[in-house]
Symmetry: C2
Subunit: 80 residues, 2 copies
């Protein structure tokens, strides 16, 4: 079994309304030192395979096809 | 300036409907090797301070008060 950890982040230059909302909330709570806030997704997948090279290709395909919107998002992943 | 990277994950034992939906979608796309899927949040904050000890305390307070629902979610963070 291989565990994949995937990080999906909004590309630089793309607006992040969720991050802006969190930034505003933190400021209103007195956390004035907070500058930019960017929010992404963090996913943990268990893969029923022991072939790391194949898992690498398969996770890449999952990200491209479903897990990330590559027009506005970047992704990276680690296999354990 | 200190950059904080925060990971918020659903606690073990708490249902993750978003993860289940993604698992179902991956299976229907032919990624049959996918076992459990857990989805969390990934946040990058910029802090306008250079005091790491203070930043550590402040980010912890932000997580407890706003960024994580500690009843059902765990959080961890790194400062850079």
């Amino acid at each position: 079994m291989i565990k994949a950890t995937i990080y999906v982040t909004i590309k630089r230059g793309v607006l992040d309304p969720q991050g802006n909302a969190v930034q505003g909330a933190l400021h209103s709570m007195g956390f004035d030192e907070v500058g930019s806030v960017r929010i992404g997704k963090y996913m943990e997948l268990e893969l029923n395979t022991d072939n790391r090279a194949e898992a690498d290709n398969r996770v890449k395909a999952m990200c491209e096809k479903l897990l990330a919107n590559t027009v506005i998002e970047d992704y990276r992943f680690e296999l354990q």
